[in-house]
């Protein structure tokens, strides 16, 4: 998983939510995210999930999303092999959310403050994590 978020508190909380489910890498700017993604695709690997903030330094989240889809297209990656991208943004940012779905084919969005239940339910829907264990009583 790759978390692209420049704000320390948001980033830390996302890592805390996601780290029980896998290794979390972080990038704090658009440039850093693109560099990391470039290297991963170049080694014929990919991230299952990218949590992507829109307002990040250097290259904004919309551009990073476009680059992800471009890198995938150029390597013939599509469908279930494609990286799931969850946009994280502010509640009032509906224009960016719509743009990310239409232009970048993002998979979901979350508004801040991030709710861990919502995030995990997206991951279950995307089949990136399993159902939670149930308590049984005898």
């Amino acid at each position: 998983m790759l978390i692209v978020e420049d704000e320390f508190i948001s980033r830390t909380l996302l890592v805390e939510i996601l780290k029980p489910y896998g290794v979390c890498h972080i990038a704090t700017s658009g440039c850093e995210a693109v560099d990391v993604l470039d290297r991963v695709y170049a080694s014929n690997d990919h991230y299952d999930l990218v949590c992507l903030d829109i307002m990040i330094p250097d290259i904004d989240g919309q551009e990073v999303l476009k680059k992800i889809r471009h890198m995938e297209a150029s390597r013939g990656i599509s469908g279930r092999q494609a990286t799931r991208v969850i946009i994280t943004t502010a509640l009032e940012d509906s224009r960016n959310i719509v743009k990310a779905f239409l232009d970048g084919n993002c998979d979901a969005y979350l508004t801040k403050p991030i709710e861990s239940d919502k995030l995990l339910s997206h991951l279950r829907f995307m089949q990136l994590i399993g159902e939670p264990a149930h308590d049984y009583s005898f």
Binding site: E7, I9, S10, T12, L13, E92, K112, D117
Partner: protein, 110 residues
């Protein structure tokens, strides 16, 4: 609100919203408070630029942090600054709004 009240409120929010344990929250709090202090200083520093876009961006950053700490009414104040800045408003009283935000979170960040 006193420092203790603010701190308790944040702790409770972090436990509820992110399903964190009290021990996890205790470990995170010092860094979160320090980060909030840096965001506040950056917002105050942005006033010197006189550039509404720079002020708006600093407002956006602290807004996100305040939302994640459950301080929604303070985040609303930051959002007002963000909107003014991003809208290019040069006549608004940024100084007073930023000072008000500082006054409200001062018990927490000193």
């Amino acid at each position: 609100m006193s420092a203790r009240q603010l701190s308790d409120r944040i702790r409770h929010f972090l436990c509820e919203q992110f399903q964190l344990t009290p021990d996890q929250v205790t470990a995170m709090m010092p860094n979160f408070i320090a980060t909030l202090s840096v965001h506040m200083a950056n917002l105050e520093g942005s006033l010197a630029s006189g550039d509404p876009q720079v002020i708006g961006k600093a407002g956006h950053t602290i807004k996100g942090a305040l939302l994640n700490l459950g301080l929604t009414e303070y985040a609303d104040l930051a959002f007002a600054i963000e909107k003014m800045g991003k809208g290019g408003d040069r006549s608004g009283d940024y100084q007073a709004r930023v000072a008000n935000l500082r006054r409200l979170i001062a018990p927490l960040i000193g």
